[in-house]
């Protein structure tokens, strides 16, 4: 599973970094930075939660 952000949709609410700090950190303006796009199996459930929680539906998960 791969993690992506749609940067046009993203408004920097920061929910994703709150729920998935293992994979997502925020830049100086509160927009998400993903250093490793590949989601480890043990984090898949949390990644889905982060995607569902995004108010602008900007967190995308691509199944391999």
């Amino acid at each position: 599973m791969k993690l992506r952000i749609n940067p046009i949709m993203c408004d920097g609410h920061g929910m994703c970094a709150e729920l998935l700090p293992e994979l997502i950190r925020l830049d100086d303006w509160g927009y998400p930075i993903i250093d490793v796009a590949e989601v480890p199996a043990e984090l898949e459930a949390l990644a889905r939660r982060a995607a569902d929680a995004c108010p602008t539906l900007a967190v995308l998960l691509d199944d391999d």
């Binding site: 952000i5 749609n6 940067p7 920097g12 830049d27 927009y31």
Partner: protein
């Protein structure tokens, strides 16, 4: 399935929104039939029946030349349409071109799907620039052997290079790949003064120390060895009497303003980088401004819908690399330069 996947159109992207670049305008206004020949051949090869030529609405001469040329053509089943649109920097980006042709704003879209997957009329679309179309036409007319009489094995043929800045005869020059950089400068009438640096590839390109740059040839291999590429085909020579830091701060400020305003990292990151670079150029920079600029540049990379932040990051990293001595001098209140006035297009900018 095969028929729905057929390429619907060839789009020639003649937007040429790079401020210093003049090669596409030159081709489209002086040799419109050569460009249309190549586009029609490309359309025939991929089974498309439509050729759309997209230009900026700041190019009335090219629009008139193309409309005139298109009206007298008989290319079988291939039809031509000339469309002028907004001329802002990012409106020339391929997804922005397709978005505009589909009736939307001339702003980049989130990809994939890329235009070759879903583009004009939401069908697979082939995009090329006018120079590529012209090259296709020339190969078809004179053959591949003729084409290879210029250039190197790795880079056959020639390129159109817009050479400007501290040269006696700025303009568009056709030069064979493999030509030494010193000959490029000589082709443009020679330098007007000793050179400090060359900006290779326009404002998405990289600054290179003049001494290193002038040892290269116009070839991918040579340019790649210094981490640069010909990009938009723009070469700007900066004379020793100019200040690369001040000029770059102006360019960076312009790049920040040209963001389409859609993606947070680009909007905030480029503005912050530009402001810090201006502080450094004005000698008001903090000691850590340089490191902050480099961190922001690394962070904005790959985080926009289009490559605008990537290009700006590449540009500013080369500024810090090539003009590091100037950054130190400016902190100590020393700047020996006069403004060079690099060209910036302040025309119609796209805003959300």
């Amino acid at each position: 399935v095969a028929s729905t996947r057929r390429v619907s159109a060839v789009v020639v992207n003649g937007s040429e929104t790079e401020p210093a670049s003049r090669k596409d305008r030159l081709l489209l206004s002086r040799l419109p039939h050569l460009v249309l020949d190549g586009a029609a051949l490309a359309a025939g090869a991929v089974g498309a029946r439509e050729v759309v030529i997209k230009l900026g609405d700041d190019q009335p001469e090219a629009v008139a030349a193309l409309n005139g040329a298109a009206s007298v053509r008989h290319d079988g089943r291939v039809s031509f349409e000339v469309v002028a649109g907004p001329a802002g920097y990012v409106s020339g980006e391929e997804s922005a071109v397709v978005n505009f042709l589909n009736g939307g704003p001339a702003l980049p879209t989130f990809v994939p799907p890329r235009p070759f997957e879903r583009g004009y009329r939401r069908r697979p679309t082939m995009l090329c620039n006018p120079e590529t179309a012209a090259q296709i036409a020339l190969v078809a007319r004179f053959g591949d052997r003729w084409y290879r009489t210029l250039g190197t094995d790795a880079d056959p043929g020639s390129a159109l290079v817009t050479i400007t800045g501290a040269v006696r005869a700025p303009g568009v020059y056709e030069l064979a790949f493999g030509t030494p950089m010193t000959d490029l400068i000589a082709a443009a009438g020679g330098a007007t003064e000793p050179l400090r640096a060359l900006l290779v590839g326009g404002y998405f390109g990289t600054w290179v120390d003049a001494e290193r740059a002038l040892r290269l040839r116009l070839a991918r291999e040579d340019l790649g060895s210094l981490g640069c590429s010909l990009g938009s085909g723009v070469l700007i020579a900066l004379g020793e009497s100019s200040c690369g830091l001040h000029e770059s701060a102006r360019v960076m400020d312009w790049l920040a303003a040209e963001s389409s305003g859609q993606c947070g990292p680009c909007v905030h990151g480029l503005r912050a980088i530009a402001d810090s670079l201006t502080m450094l150029a004005d000698g008001r920079g903090a000691r850590d401004d340089r490191d902050r600029v480099l961190r922001w540049a690394a962070e904005v990379r790959g985080r926009g819908a289009c490559h605008h932040p990537d290009g700006a990051a590449r540009f500013v990293e080369s500024v810090v690399d090539v003009f590091s001595a100037e950054i130190g001098d400016h902190r100590n209140g020393v700047c020996r330069a006069a403004p060079a006035g690099l060209p910036l297009a302040h025309g119609a900018m796209v805003r959300r």
